[in-house]
Symmetry: C2
Amino acid sequence: MEPYELTASEAARSIRDGRLTSEALVRSCLERIEARDPEIRAWIHVDPALALAAARDADKRLAGNPSAVGPLHGVPFGVKDVIDTADLPTTHNSPIFQGHRPSRDAACVAIARSAGGILLGKTDTVEFASGGRKAATRNPVNTDHTPGGSSSGSGAAVGDRHVPLAFGTQTGGSHIRPASFNGIYGFKPTWGAVSREGVKHYAVSLDTIGWYGRSVADLALMAEAFRLEGMGETAPVPLAGLRVGVCRSPVWSSIEPAGEAALHLAALRLEAAGASVEPFELPADFSTLAEVQDVIRRGEGRAAFLDLYLGDRHRLHEELADHCEHNRGITARSLTEAYDVAGQCRARFAGLFERIDVILTPSAPGEAPKGLHTTGDHIFNGIWTVLHAPCLAMPCTHGPQGLPVGVQLVAPRFADARLLAMAGAMAAAVA
Amino acid sequence: MEPYELTASEAARSIRDGRLTSEALVRSCLERIEARDPEIRAWIHVDPALALAAARDADKRLAGNPSAVGPLHGVPFGVKDVIDTADLPTTHNSPIFQGHRPSRDAACVAIARSAGGILLGKTDTVEFASGGRKAATRNPVNTDHTPGGSSSGSGAAVGDRHVPLAFGTQTGGSHIRPASFNGIYGFKPTWGAVSREGVKHYAVSLDTIGWYGRSVADLALMAEAFRLEGMGETAPVPLAGLRVGVCRSPVWSSIEPAGEAALHLAALRLEAAGASVEPFELPADFSTLAEVQDVIRRGEGRAAFLDLYLGDRHRLHEELADHCEHNRGITARSLTEAYDVAGQCRARFAGLFERIDVILTPSAPGEAPKGLHTTGDHIFNGIWTVLHAPCLAMPCTHGPQGLPVGVQLVAPRFADARLLAMAGAMAAAVA
């Protein structure tokens, strides 16, 4: 087994135990990228010398004081290119930011580094994680298909084992959907639990940083680095008796046969493994939340793009400039109404978990669509993003075209640690 | 009259009409700063050569195409030093950021520049606009007193006529309070209406960028640059019959005699000028909002400072590091409850304006306190910040110590243009 094949948690343990050096792991990842990325195109920028120097430094620090290392010690991670890095350019896949070098790391990058992580490189993204130009990234399972987006490169890089961990972002469904399309695990924490400082704004009351891994333990490792409440204090959850609410969600009409089959299969497998599985429905008025997400995204996008619209309009994609112009008639009034519906539903959401522990729901309509002109539909993600709820994508099965199809778990706000613990109990049964 | 004495709107008009050059105005401001700032200490960084070059360029552009200039053409502005500027260091008044040079302007700086404004320099601030180290700035009216904070330098610089416009920020009462203490006008727009990209995070669901001027027209000029909804389309408001609700607010027990006198005087003057003035009370349950503000500020502050806490703890002020440690027992549960109360009150707030057009309420307990160890109390501001409401500070009178005491106007979310129009009608009567 090559080091690049290890999950982040396996790699972290091996490094800590002295069975693997960070340098060997990083070198293995770099070789994998060299072999695969000409076809996959997950990465916009990789600096091998910089990553190797950081890895050697991590190896030295471990030798000096093995008890003082953080949870990610020596483990490389990728960063979606809408997130600032001081050592590498940050382009947002925008003509305006080509060659742009931020002066500091975004808070999430700094925290991952403080936890011992090694910045490997920047991954391709839809322009500003918003709209306009797509990533050049291809789905590693079938390169004729999209890896999803906007976190296209991060999803494909983790899926194709270029790197064990990577950051993405989600405003609608930019993080959870690519996890499903690439057959990997993805975690979007509660809104606000992780600082977005140094990350391009799109819709500030929705934008959330997430991360990808190849196991639930990988996701937990990063959650530990961010010191999410309850991490390290949450007991393992037994699968027996865990109450799983299967939620088709108010946008079920958008489901495809492969997505329906995955949800059904996950439910059956969980039930067979001892979980208590039952149907779960959101209250009827929650059905407006997909539209609410769209109004907030576009309404807040107006403020987010105004500086570029006024200062560099000809290089801002028409689709983004549009947020600053007629913007599909979204006004302060419709934005205010959307805020208030969102706020009311958020306040009621935790109360819906009386008879269930966790929601099981689609992570995407089905398999990754064909073509790189699309990143698929975020319709099964927007509702949960508006609710500020922690969401976790896990692999489940493959569709008729041989592409991965996952499912999504959702818990109440700030139940991040509990969601990770429940997912830890469910993953083996579901996959 | 020296050019530095002009308000922003007077200066903009004079420049547009060819009666004043931007260079002459900037030179006059620089001379004023040279004469006054050794005592006032409003500025952390001023680059005269850079500002003069930008002013000369503005003069040339005006000569070339007088019809194409923006609302702030040729007018200098100051920037609170928690806001990124590409040409000048951004220190956050923190030892961690000494000499730090961001690679790009914050969105608000870029937009002010797109509107023709000239960046004059960076103003002193409470550390990270949060806590810890105070600004060195003194109140221009009496240098033994604080100018307020955390937007200390911006408030004093506009008050002492170093610059006609300046940006501040508000998470609790960091913007409106200094306006009152310095005898100037201040505007805090609706939360989210102005991009905070490139501004230090503190509490992301509260942080708001505001600006100072020496007239309501100055505030409107900047609001135009930000294209706030309704600007340029809102008809002048007649003072006669304007329904003003005088709100002592649920924190009235913190009022001082000078604050009480100012509120009373403003109400009397407005009534004498033809407004319809009546008492106004917030519903009883709104009284928790001051506490809600504190919980959200501290709860979100935990995520905001974690990167510095983990990476540079010994240089992060103890008061800020505390957000990442015990944090006065604030948990995910108390933060969630605070979010929900805030959301419910926000949704109901506009409905309270059935019988009134605008709220008149204290902007601070009274005069600026003595000493630079304090910036005064934000107790009269936090409620409105939580409500995401646009707030406008206007001068009213002076207290027993000869220091200015203002009042505050508040309107429903996104009624920014209407609030500016109402304030335009009220200002002459109130002052």
